[in-house]
Amino acid sequence: MAKKLMKGNEAIAEAAIRAGATNYFAYPITPQSEVAEYLSHRLPEVGGVFVQAESEVAVGNMLFGAACTGKRAFTTSSSPGVSLMQEAISFMAGAQVPTVIVNIMRGGPGLGGILPAQSDYMQAVKGGGHGDYKVIVLAPSSVQEAVDLMMLCFHLADKYRNPVMLIGDGMIGQMMESVEFPDKYDEPPLPPKDWALTGAKGRKSYIIKSLYLDPAQLEENNFALGRKYEKIKQNEVRYELYKVSNKNRILIFAYGTMARICQTAIDELEEEGISAGLFRPISLFPFPEKEIYREIVKPNVETLLTVEMSMGQMLEDIEKSIMGIKPLGFFGRTGGIVPTPEEVKAAVKKQLGQGK
């Protein structure tokens, strides 16, 4: 298919349809309302379901009910809205119901602002609701990657019967880039959805639930979830390296839009004779811990820097991954302020002991 110039939010919406997800529930919130606007006319064209709900609390639970049919369903929202969905996400994780939730992050806490941020990393990656659970979290850094990962989200959700989150900062949602869609999402075969509620015809009734009052049963459910998360950690780590070589004096860690800004900074530093490489986690859960360690142990790497549009959230996972063997610095802007390549360059130089 030919390339098309599209806004990130609309491209994400279209990608879902190409992945066969034609059931969408949402509540308006900046900076991602274009998704709902696009789907409100696009879904009826493909015979899908579009419901504008009364709140994000309802959205999360409509999604829960929708996913119990075994059909692909999704929602999109932004930070405060995703906070309201955490109840349903915990229930869906506990009941092992596959769904996809997109968070086009804006600055917080509280009502915060409407400009790009990466301050919901912890909420997404560490389990934003109650209980021992994980959602798979993917973070695109371009509109094309948002399209590709959005489709992958549905595949992973079905593969593991688990909620999957796509997190992008407001920039991913608002910026326009050229994108290419496959006519049909080509995905590996999936297990049959023999758990879906289709009516107790010629079989015993199925129950989709997360309640286990017997502690031994609840523990067994948690163990089963734990085994699943281990499998996800083994199979689904995704990341990208940029200009990583044995000349790098410093390795930078950044994801999403922030990683692209770091790429520009790395290109400019190269011209100044400073060799820096970028490690960009794409899957935030599972986090590429071992892969990061493998890169940072290389003898040429003197020091490390994490750059985020937050006060330092992925930073904690980087700290865990490097096990304290090399110095690690942090540079972040928040509140909707996007760091410039100049600021990143200055942070790199400072980390290398060359700055002020």
Partner: protein, 256 residues
């Protein structure tokens, strides 16, 4: 049980939609009667194999163990949202919520009003016993004025807690067509009335008509601190006058 049913001499047996599991409900509680009326309606309409129930949080969370139909267990109060998500994708299936008064009229107030207002073609069985049962008898939005509970030990003070919410009347005020009725099951005559209304609420969905809700007044002898017969009398003397029985809205007539 299925074998017993085939016996031509059997005139009364367990509905196929009701499981043989022993319930967790207290003696004198009317959840059991209401479950049976729901199951009879499902059987009579021949919809068991395409029915999905949504269990609430509260005493009837275990409803999923007592019906022979597929079930989803909802977060507290959100059953109408789950039902909406499911029914929109599978309009060919029959979806019913079974919710208590804490679940529906307190934490789930938003979800029930908006589902009714969107006219979701679902069936809601709303069991109102004027108290939180599962958590041990706290004040509910439906607790009567001066009624003593573990969180209103001096009786419900309407100057602070407001008056009990009349859900059937509240939902009837919506412009969207729907079926809204209130009934009770504390005597045989009312059990017949309840059955008729519950069956109507399912039939409306089978016919693709409208949102349907039947509020059923129920006893909670354990948390009311009464013997079952005293609880029945208390319901009749106190709840029925405040929560009048009747049909408040039908899809044929649209409220102005």
């Amino acid at each position: 049980m299925a074998d017993v049913k085939k016996d031509p001499l059997t005139i009364f047996s367990r509905p196929e939609a009701l499981s043989s599991n022993i319930t967790s409900y207290c003696p004198g509680c009317t959840h059991g009667v209401i479950h049976r009326l729901v199951a009879e309606s499902i059987d009579e309409l021949g919809i068991r194999e395409r029915t999905v129930g949504v269990a609430p949080v509260g005493c009837s969370v275990f409803a999923y163990n007592y019906f022979n139909v597929d079930f989803m267990e909802s977060p507290h109060g959100r059953a109408p949202a789950l039902a909406t998500g499911f029914k929109r994708i599978r309009p060919d299936m029959i979806v019913f919520n079974y919710q208590g008064d804490g679940d529906l009229a307190s934490i789930g107030m938003s979800e029930i009003i908006h589902s009714a207002n969107r006219g979701e073609k679902i069936t809601v069985i709303f069991v109102n016993n004027a108290i939180y049962g599962m958590t041990g008898g706290q004040m509910a939005p439906t607790t009567l004025p001066n009624q003593k509970t573990t969180t209103s030990p001096m009786g419900r003070d309407v100057s602070k807690a407001g008056y009990p919410v009349r859900m059937a009347e509240l939902l009837s005020s919506l412009r969207t067509p729907g079926y809204i009725a209130r009934t009770a099951v504390h005597n045989p005559m009312l059990i017949v009335d309840a059955k008729r209304k519950i069956r109507r609420a399912f039939a409306n969905q089978v016919e693709g008509k409208c949102f349907s809700l039947v509020e059923v007044l129920s006893t909670c002898p354990t948390n009311w601190g009464m013997a079952p017969d005293a609880a029945t009398k208390w319901l009749e003397d106190n709840m029925v006058p405040y929560y009048p029985l009747g049909t408040f809205k039908t899809p044929e007539e649209e409220s102005a």
